[in-house]
Structures are given as C-alpha cells and as structure tokens.
C-alpha cells in the first residue's frame, strides 16, 4: 500500500487550491488569470500522474492522455486564431448585439 504518497498528493492539491483562491485577491490584473490557469494545470497533472496512476501505466495508455491534451490545444489555438485575427469588416460584425 502506498497511501503515504496519495495523502501527500492530496495535501499538495489542497495547498494549490488555497493558493489559487488567495492569488485571485491579489491586485495584479490579468496575471491572476494566468496564475489560476497554471495552478489548474498543475492540479490536473498531479491528479493524472499520482491518483490516476499514469506514472505506472504503459506508453499506449499515456499516449491516449497526451492525444486528448494535444487536441484540446489545437481547439484552443484555432479558437484564438479565429477570434484573435478577425479585423473589422462590413460583412462580419462580432459586436452586432451592442
């Protein structure tokens, strides 16, 4: 039984949770979102690696996780490219509601 490692991971997760709540009160503007997202990724990595035992899984299973992460990255990149690179046009108005 390796309960010690699991409890330690749980303590780290709760610490990261406190950190993300505390940082959201800091007067650092947009950086809060970056910190919050980075902490969320760290928490997800801990859960995947220790709780979901990816540290012991075969390469095939790990690859399935990596594929999911990469596809989400592709989705995010395409979304950012779509919205980020739009320029004012007489044919497309993003802010038509206002």
């Amino acid at each position: 039984m390796r309960v010690g490692r699991l409890v330690f991971t749980w303590a780290a997760l709760l610490m990261l949770l406190s950190l993300t709540i505390a940082s959201s009160f800091l007067p650092i503007g947009e950086w809060r979102q970056v910190i919050n997202f980075a902490i969320a990724i760290a928490k997800a990595a801990l859960i995947l690696w220790i709780f979901m035992q990816m540290r012991e899984e075969a390469a095939l299973v790990r690859l399935a996780v990596v594929v999911a992460a990469v596809l989400l990255l592709v989705l995010g990149s395409l979304l950012a490219a779509d919205y980020g690179l739009r320029s004012p046009s007489p044919y497309v108005r993003i802010d038509a509601a206002r």
Partner: protein, 206 residues
C-alpha cells in the same frame, strides 16, 4: 490479486492494458466535451471581461471552494480504495468507495443550495419570477455557468452511482475486479479534473 484472462488476449498484462486503454480513450472524449465548454467560457471572458468579472463575483465563492476541497478529498479516498482493492483489502476498499460516494452526494447538495440561491437572486436565465442581469453578457455568463456545472453535476451523479455500486458489490462473494474498480476510479478523477478547471474560470475570474 488474481485476474481472469479472457479471449482474445494472449496474456493478462495485454488484457489489462487494453481495458485501461479503452477507458482512457472514453475519458479523452469526455475531456473534448468539457473542453469545448471551457473554450466557450474563455472566449466570452476575452470579449466581455467586465461583465464576466462582475457576474463571477456574484457566485458563492465559499460554496465553490468548499466543493473543490470535497471533490479533491473524495478523489483521495477513491485512490486509496483502488490501492486497497489491488492489495485484496476488500473491507477497506468498500469503506473508502462508500465514503467517496457520500462526499459526491455532499458536493451535489452544496451545488443544489447554490442553484437555489442563484434562483432567488434572479441569476437563473429564463427561470423564476425575477431576472437580474445587467447586460446580455452577464446572462451569457450564467448560461455558460449552468451548462458547465449542470453537465458536470450529471457526471458527478453517474460517478456516485458507480462508486456506490462498487462499494455495495465489495461486500459480497463477487467483488468487482481490480481493473473494474480502477476504471471507475479513473472516471471519478476525471470528474475531479474537470471541476479543477471550471472552479477558477467561473468563481475566480474577478
């Protein structure tokens, strides 16, 4: 721990890997589903930062934070339960999974009380006697909030049923297999990961 080999697998190790792989591919498809919702919230936050932040502040931060801790703790219990099952300590595994299922119910109860509060404050789009949205973007935020948390709550409900079922079967002569409990555990951990991303985006975008 003993596992029965089934056709067409040449050995136990290959069979176990295939079982695990199938579950992870399913979970990856779940990640796509929630990923799209999260990207939608990101887009809304990018274009309407002021309304997004103002509406985010109206959510119950304490309830959301407690719920995050509840889910993280239940994940710990499920991980210990899976270890216990692998070590043939069935009684410990049973109690761990039962306690995790109870924490899942606690999560749903807290979430329900939040929904009730939002209903009272007129924050439930299109429902209730009162509607209190300053801008269309504020309403869109609450739309996204209910879609994301509602879909997540549905997954928590399914997870609670799976955990409770496993705990129940662990009492008898025919306990679920190590791989079976491991896969239910993976599902529960994914539900936890989804919440880990939803929580800061919805509650902490101040």
């Amino acid at each position: 721990m003993t596992l029965a080999r089934h056709e067409p697998f040449p050995d136990i190790a290959r069979q176990r890997e295939a079982d695990r792989f199938g579950m992870v591919v399913f979970l990856a498809s779940e990640a796509m589903l929630f990923g799209a919702v999260v990207m939608g919230l990101f887009a809304l936050r990018t274009f309407e930062p002021a309304a997004f932040a103002a509406t985010s502040q109206r959510l119950n931060l304490v309830a959301g934070s407690v719920n995050t801790a509840v889910l993280l703790t239940s994940s710990l219990l499920v991980a210990i339960g899976a270890e216990a099952r692998a070590g043939d300590r069935l009684r410990l595994a049973k109690w761990m999974l039962a306690a995790a299922a109870l924490l899942g119910l606690a999560f749903l109860a807290i979430k329900g009380s939040e929904y009730l509060q939002e209903y009272g404050e007129g924050l439930m789009p299109g429902v209730g006697p009162k509607q209190d949205f300053a801008t269309p973007a504020a309403r869109m935020f609450m739309d996204g909030y209910f879609v994301a948390t509602g879909l997540h709550a549905l997954h928590v409900t399914i997870g609670v049923a799976l955990l409770a079922g496993c705990a129940w079967r662990l009492r008898g002569d025919d306990p679920p297999s190590v791989v079976g409990i491991g896969n239910v555990g993976l599902y529960w951990h994914l539900v936890d990961i989804v919440w880990v991303f939803l929580f800061p985006i919805l509650y902490l975008s101040r």
